[in-house]
Amino acid sequence: MVTGLPPVRGRVLVSGSGQGPLLRLTHPISFWGGVDPVRGIISDPRHPQFGASLAGRVLAIPSAVGSSSSSAIMLELLREKTAPAAILLGKADAILALGAVVGQELGYQTIPILELPMAALGEMSAEAVVIVNPDGSVLPVD
């Protein structure tokens, strides 16, 4: 059931729908070297959310950084079915979105990716279950 909070709307980079508990990263991340796609976890020991599982979560990232090989890691997450349910990026990132676009081409089940400032999620609690819609709206569910 939808709660009383108003939905927030992000810019759609890759369209789709997804639902899961929110996982908010406090620091930017490079998927290449920072995410293990086989286990679907944050594998960079220097990252504050080191060890957190991404699978099925709505992942909110302040920004993606680092190597353009991160596209390949995004594709592997989709292929291994360890991907988040959706990704909300504080700052648009073509590299991660490209991995999802290629995933669509290869027939992997894909996920929505939105540009959405982290501050827009302000009201939503850290572990809230949220739903991401194809129109870019994001809202918490009970």
Partner: protein, 448 residues
């Protein structure tokens, strides 16, 4: 996003399914990047033949099945296998097979099997002002800065889509206005003796990347005889610690015959070398907000960049040496052969005490062999790695320990990708240390 009729036809599948798929991905990427049109390119360098997982193989083989062919001359970056010396990579049968398939799929589509991060060393040098689509951060920095051709930062998948369609999104460093220096880096206070040494350039590059991030810098005060290998090392280090994709060196690189030219944009030079677009007279005083920031590395800043390149600064012994990131050039082989011969190592003398890896392109290795540079190096215990390198695939011993290198890029990525601690030094330091296994570094060069 506006497509030409020909581009629309490619998208509609007139040139086959692979080209249509490449075009769909390219158009989606162009949208994401905010480009309004595509431009034709004259060459591509594909970084996507390195195996990160089996999705990369499925992508490449889908393009092969769809009849994909490279539309422009295309070179390949390193793979995860040394196809010439397969025994050197320690991985399981599945990964070996997949790494090989991923490399071969791109060759099947007409890419040249260069397997090097330095295609500019094996005969691929675009002209000043040419539009290209290159991947691999050091190759991007080199082709933009040292050769003056124009690329943005392309990576996995997009590099191949550009090569197959012969097009790239018109954005970023493809456009003249984005090639102007935004910051002036003055190194005139650095002693000439230090600026003449190879060991200086990865340190300057590391400092530059940390300091300017993704901004375009114009470096003033480097010697006019700065070598290509030194510029290569500078760019590779700056692209490791920052996202530097273009830098100018005043009086050295093609878009910076003068500081004014570097600041005025990347307009091509006339044949006589005079910039077609000089800065307007008095521009600096007329409009202060157009003044670029001016910075100068201090002795302390460079020493701290130097220190940052070693995670095991107090180590007394090393377990291995790796050089050749970016891939070793013929000039670097000549230099190494001379150092090894001077120390009496090789056929007529002792061998090195620890494993010593040199990573290079198969084409450079063939040239060095022809010049007779390799036999004595091998006799001295030097192991040559072709087609790949020690930070992208398991080559170093599992035992771990301390790795010495003269490469800013190996020093930056080594600890996270190999698990080794690193010690940075000159090529001479690397050979001196590998002779006994004890760290030997000439610190006097840094007395500034």
């Amino acid at each position: 996003m506006t497509l030409t009729p020909h581009e629309q036809a490619l998208l509609d599948g007139e040139a086959g399914e692979a080209t249509a798929m490449a075009m769909r991905i390219l158009v989606a990427a162009a949208d994401l990047l905010g480009a309004e049109q595509l431009i034709e390119i004259s060459s591509a360098h594909i970084d996507g033949c390195l195996h990160h997982g089996d999705g990369g193989v499925e992508f490449a083989e889908a393009l092969v099945r769809g009849g994909g062919r490279m539309a422009v001359p295309t070179t390949l970056n390193v793979g995860a296998m040394d196809l010439l010396h397969p025994g050197i990579v320690r991985t399981d049968a599945h990964n070996t097979d997949m790494a090989r398939r991923q490399m071969q799929a791109y060759v099947a589509m007409g890419a040249e099997p260069t397997f090097t991060c330095a295609p500019y060393q094996v005969g691929h040098e675009p002209d000043v002002g040419q539009q290209v689509a290159w991947g691999e951060s050091n190759a991007i920095a080199f082709v933009n800065s040292v050769l003056g051709a124009r690329t943005e930062r392309y990576g996995d998948f997009l590099d191949a889509c550009c090569a197959i369609t012969g097009r790239a999104p018109l954005h970023g460093l493809h456009r003249s206005e984005n090639r102007r220096a935004q910051v002036v880096v003055d190194v005139s206070a650095v002693p000439e003796a230090l600026k003449a040494r190879d060991v200086f350039f990865p340190v300057l590059g590391s400092w530059l990347g940390l300091t300017v991030g993704d901004e375009v810098a114009a470096i003033e005060g480097l010697p006019t005889d700065t070598t290509r290998d030194q510029l290569k090392a500078l760019g590779a280090a700056a692209a490791s610690t920052g996202s530097v994709a273009l830098f100018h060196v005043v009086g050295v690189t093609p878009e910076a015959p003068t500081l004014a030219a570097a600041l005025g944009g990347g307009e091509a030079q006339d044949e006589d070398g005079v910039s077609r677009r000089p800065a307007p007279p008095g521009w600096a005083s007329q409009s202060m907000d157009r003044l670029p920031r001016r910075i100068a590395p201090t002795s302390g800043a460079l020493r701290s960049a130097l220190a940052r390149l070693s995670t095991a600064d107090t180590a007394e012994r090393i377990d291995s040496v790796a050089v050749g990131s970016p891939h070793f050039s013929l000039e670097e082989f000549t230099h190494l052969a001379a150092i090894v011969a001077e120390r009496g190592l090789g056929t007529s003398g002792p061998r090195l005490a620890v494993p010593f890896f040199v990573c290079t392109a198969r084409a450079t290795l063939a040239e060095a062999e022809e010049l007779g540079l390799i036999e004595n190096l091998r006799a001295a215990g030097v192991e040559i790695v072709a087609d790949t390198c020690v930070v992208v695939t398991p080559i170093l011993s599992d035992a771990g320990g301390v790795l010495m290198t003269n490469s800013g890029k190996f020093a930056h990525y080594g600890p996270s990708t190999t698990g080794y601690e690193v010690v940075y030094g000159s090529l001479e330091d690397c050979v001196a240390s590998a002779t006994t296994g004890e760290v030997r570094r000439d610190e006097t060069v840094w007395s500034w």
